[in-house]
Subunit: 203 residues, 2 copies
Amino acid sequence: MSRKGLLIVISGPSGTGKGTICKELLSRNIPNLELSISVTTRKPRTGEIEGLNYFFKDKTDFIKMIENNEFIEYAKVYDNYYGTPKQYVFDRLNEGKDVILEIDTQGAVNVKNAFDEGILIFIMPPSFEELKNRILNRGTETLEDIKKRLRCANKEIRLSSYYDYLIVNDSIRSAADKIENILQAEKYKMKRVNIDYLNFEEE
Amino acid sequence: MSRKGLLIVISGPSGTGKGTICKELLSRNIPNLELSISVTTRKPRTGEIEGLNYFFKDKTDFIKMIENNEFIEYAKVYDNYYGTPKQYVFDRLNEGKDVILEIDTQGAVNVKNAFDEGILIFIMPPSFEELKNRILNRGTETLEDIKKRLRCANKEIRLSSYYDYLIVNDSIRSAADKIENILQAEKYKMKRVNIDYLNFEEE
């Protein structure tokens, strides 16, 4: 059964360790799993290779790509643009590759809006769990401190309803195991199975 | 984090080996996983224990339970009734148990209609895969033979759109592995995670 690949979006608040989780996943040499390659306007650093680490473009070309709707999502970070190229990713998916995108929470929501089949995984820092325990145990932190921390996280958390899965990053290995698990289970989803061959017309 | 259990419905055409797969799953002693117990009007066989194998009821009581809407689903097979008791299953789920239902395809659809959170897994006999290969390879079976076989399966297959997952039972062990996989992944679903504690009101 030939199979279209899955687009796996690994996202969450900054500092959750999502980059490290992606590295761990890729180091496991899971068949057909690969990292997406972004387009950027920033200059290549020593050792970075075009088409391997990034697709490097100048600003004019990047803006042309935006106008032509060639990105699944893009963002401007300080003076540089970063974007996920639609054609490249869709080609890889059609070849049966599972493509990982590591991206911030707003970018992930943009992906979901552009490509509903994308699987959004929200990585939650373990500190949220600790925080919850502190609240539940009426611990040493003042209520004011707790509220302040929660307020900062609130913006990100509000986006969480766009996500399909939530994983607490209590350890890199365990978080990667859980993502592998999700990747497998998603392949058994009825909606992804081609059962056209069973739909014979009655005569 | 206290967690409501999952209702896992294992279903598919007769002869797919779904009973054997459930036995294999239960033999693995997966924490908190248990088989649902049905209510039946059939007489207990030697060794069968009330509340362990079945809840045994007489016909009058069973029909009263139907009238009181006390079943998630029920069916009449020859002269006997079999039903899945709502209260019993929901109690187990609320206690955090993951409950397996092994049931025919029409029963599974009734479960989904009554309890949308149920996870429906369609077990496909491996012969369908073989069949597909025969069709694709323009093999020895006549088109008439193939159509006849497909027509028999068509009724069941049409119900497959109600299902969440599809698993081909190529081996009991592998099918059980896949169901374990699904069970794990479903626990990371965002919709099942209680993040109320993060929803602090802004002041």
